[in-house]
Symmetry: C2
Subunit: 327 residues, 2 copies
């Protein structure tokens, strides 16, 4: 039954409950944590006993969120009347299986992912929402709780992180209208943005320097390729995941249509991250090497030495660029 | 008479006119150009004859704006009934003096700068607005013109550029509410953001590489200093102004409170750009060297060789950091 519960039903269940456990997903991000905290703080204002769960420790850039120190990594015991899952497509996202859930508990599922599995007794899923925080704000409003600064800080952070500061195409008129409500409460915009965006590890900045050092532009300025070797990562003292997002520096150069970051992850094993700006389908390029993704962002792994991997992927992109956008 | 005209008066003047010349300021930016174009396109929809003026050519990142190709660098002749200045604090901002203005023309002044000189016959100045585009949208609404995609693209670009993508503290609830109206028209968010933010000259990316190469962190990770020599600029093929904003890469490192970019602009002449994150008043640091600015962003020029300039400014910042935030 892939259908959302009526909003009124979920509101009624929450009104009646006196204990609620809130859950957010692995690899915690701004939306799952911020939305969960805001809902929990609102339920507490209604006099309910609330607990917060995430299977993993929070990344440091989210530790400023009001209420974040209360998030636990062990399951609340005894189990609460209501188990509410926020921003989770399914129970695996919280490292739980149905058998771990007390049969007496009512499961609520609030999410904005189109792939949501409707695993709750009550499900409120809106794939049009840019972030679960949009649904969370509507929920809090409907519960009749006045949004305070702590809740607003949580929800604003959730929206900003899931929309890339209102830049991604998931941003809608409703996103901005709801954000206006949050700003009305009075937010420390500079402080929030500093916490979210200005906490880059030094190793990441070093990695950017190394990536730029090897930057090569070709195909009349349309292709930009960057390379990071295992040795580069070692010298920078950087873990693999710190290279996340670096490819966008190459993508942002005027005239570039495709940007590639090739990183060595093992002996004869190269991971390629591909991004395009306006028209080239990098999903098709990645598919040629057994990878995939989306039209404008895709990836693949090549079991080759760096020089050959670079040659192969450059040739494939060059051909696609030559066939051109009128293909 | 530093008082805004009643909005109704300006609306009435515009309704009656049949020819309107619109003006925007030197160093054209997204707000002055986008707001001017949107107002002009709206007035045309009302059947008026409209011309657009800017004293300088547009930067390439604004050339995608609908109507931008119609902006002229020579004054409209014969002069129009109405001369409307958008986002200009005074007439010098358009390289004009009062004597160049026909005495029969009515001068309208629409702006959001607190320093506006109220030079028009009718002035609509709102320093609470994040961008002149907020006032422009209210004006167009009040004129009874339905916002179309071209107007919305212009106004959205204006707001995004003046608020740093809704990050600066000038962003208000009204900013988001008006932006929601624009998104309702249907905008190509990805395309607009690509045009505004992904047009970096290759030389600028090279300059970033050079700046990162010399990055030094000191005072327990609180101070980050980057250096660019005249030779660096030459090797990158970069003009001085391309270093604009690079200091933010140093500012965004976790733990950093103050970031400095020292650039050699001549023999024994070093320009220092200073940024702070949370508490240090860099205006006071810059003032020690005859410069100034704001608490979180300031600059000064040191007539010294690079090594000594770096030593002087580092010492000053180190002392301020040691005195600490409880000073």
């Amino acid at each position: 039954m892939n259908e959302s519960t009526s909003i009124e039903e979920m509101i009624e269940v929450l009104r009646k409950a006196s204990t609620v456990a809130l859950f957010s997903h692995v690899s915690p991000d701004g939306d799952c944590v911020g939305s969960m905290l805001a809902i929990g703080l609102a339920l507490e204002k209604m006099g309910k006993e609330v607990s917060f769960f995430n299977p993993e420790p929070l990344p440091s850039y989210l530790m400023f969120l009001p209420g974040s120190s209360r998030i636990r990594q062990d399951l609340p015991s005894p189990q609460k009347e209501i188990l509410m899952f926020v921003d989770c497509t399914d129970l695996q996202r919280v490292n739980l299986s149905m058998s771990e859930i007390s049969p007496e508990s009512i499961v609520l599922n609030l999410d904005h992912h189109i792939s949501n599995q409707f695993f709750g007794h009550f499900n409120w899923v809106d794939a049009q929402a840019s972030a679960s925080a949009e649904i969370a704000l509507i929920l809090i409003n409907q519960l009749g709780v006045e949004i305070d600064r702590d809740m607003a800080t949580n929800l604003y952070t959730a929206i900003v992180t899931d929309t890339g500061c209102f830049q991604y195409s998931n941003t809608t008129a409703q996103t901005h209208r709801l954000t206006a409500e949050l700003l009305e409460v009075g937010l420390d915009l500079a402080g929030i943005h500093h916490n979210i965006f200005d906490q880059k590890p030094l190793a990441q900045i070093k990695l950017l320097e190394y990536a730029l050092k090897g930057l090569e532009i070709s195909v009349d300025g349309q292709l930009a390729v960057m390379i990071l070797s295992l040795e580069d990562f070692r010298e920078c003292g950087a873990e693999q995941e710190l290279s996340e997002g670096l490819v966008n520096h190459a993508r942002s150069i005027a005239g570039v249509e495709v940007a590639v970051l090739l990183k060595e992850v093992g002996s004869q094993e190269i991971k390629a991250g591909l991004r395009s700006n306006l028209w080239l389908n990098v999903n098709e390029i990645a598919a040629q090497f057994g990878g995939g993704g989306h039209k404008r962002a895709a990836g693949c792994t090549l079991k080759l030495p760096m020089v050959e991997a670079k040659q192969s992927i450059t040739t494939a992109i060059e051909e696609a660029l030559k066939i051109g956008r009128n293909h």
